[in-house]
Amino acid sequence: MIIWVLYDIEEDRARTKVAKICKQAGLYRVQYSCFLGTLNANERDSLQLEIEELINEEKDKVYIFNMNKDQLKSCAMLGQAFDEKLVSDEVKALLF
């Protein structure tokens, strides 16, 4: 499934770490605090637990949304938006 991770984290260290974890999980950075990519249920669960441990539950906000391919296709993307095919893992290699 396609996973969105959006966050608002006060502490610098925690914020940097969350970004790093998202990248390591295989998500693409579509905006400064917004990641997107394809994960299976176990990977998503693991990511959620890892983020949970880093954030301050009193202050920070993190959203993890699921989406399927059709819903992603029906999204409106304006301006300098990301490559839809890249995040849904349809592009296998960037260079040929």
């Binding site: 176990n42 693991s46 637990l49």
Partner: protein, 191 residues
Amino acid sequence: MHSFYPSQIIEYLYCPRYTYFEYVLRIPQFEEKFYKVQRGRQMHNEKLERNKNYLRKKIGVKEKWLDQYLGMPGLRGKIDEVLELEDGTFAPLDYKFAEWKDRVYETYQQQLYCYALLIEENFGEKVNRGFLVYTRSSNKIVEVPIPEESKAEIRKSMDAMLKIIGQNYYPKATKFKRRCLNCTYRNICIQ
């Protein structure tokens, strides 16, 4: 004689090729690098510290032994808790860093079957059920029946595993193709 851990038997029952790749070819899975595995291990240590004297009244526990490392020919393993119940039988209890998803997964059952064998051998008492504690669902406790056939099944797998390890025998892969999707060895396995 070779002696197996319950986890090795569970891997074998998932797919016999695991035994071949991990214990004949010695290709590691690096499972200790997975975050959930780390958290689970940490949780086990915390539980051991905290639950020292607590006896579970609800399921009728008379006595308990923590963190028992038991062995018998062909099998060895560490059981989180060995319980003596009010009806005189014994039961293994295992903590899971997992959520309760309305059914007991086969792998958890198989682990309890292995523990049942170990307890019967070492304590000399009957075991006909086991317990699982789901720590991510506010420590929900679930009872799992342990029938005689299942214990025999475990013994049978031990023999099959000895053949793989002793004779470097390359077994047939599991017939459940869905298991291959998530397998750590899918890149090197010949289908």
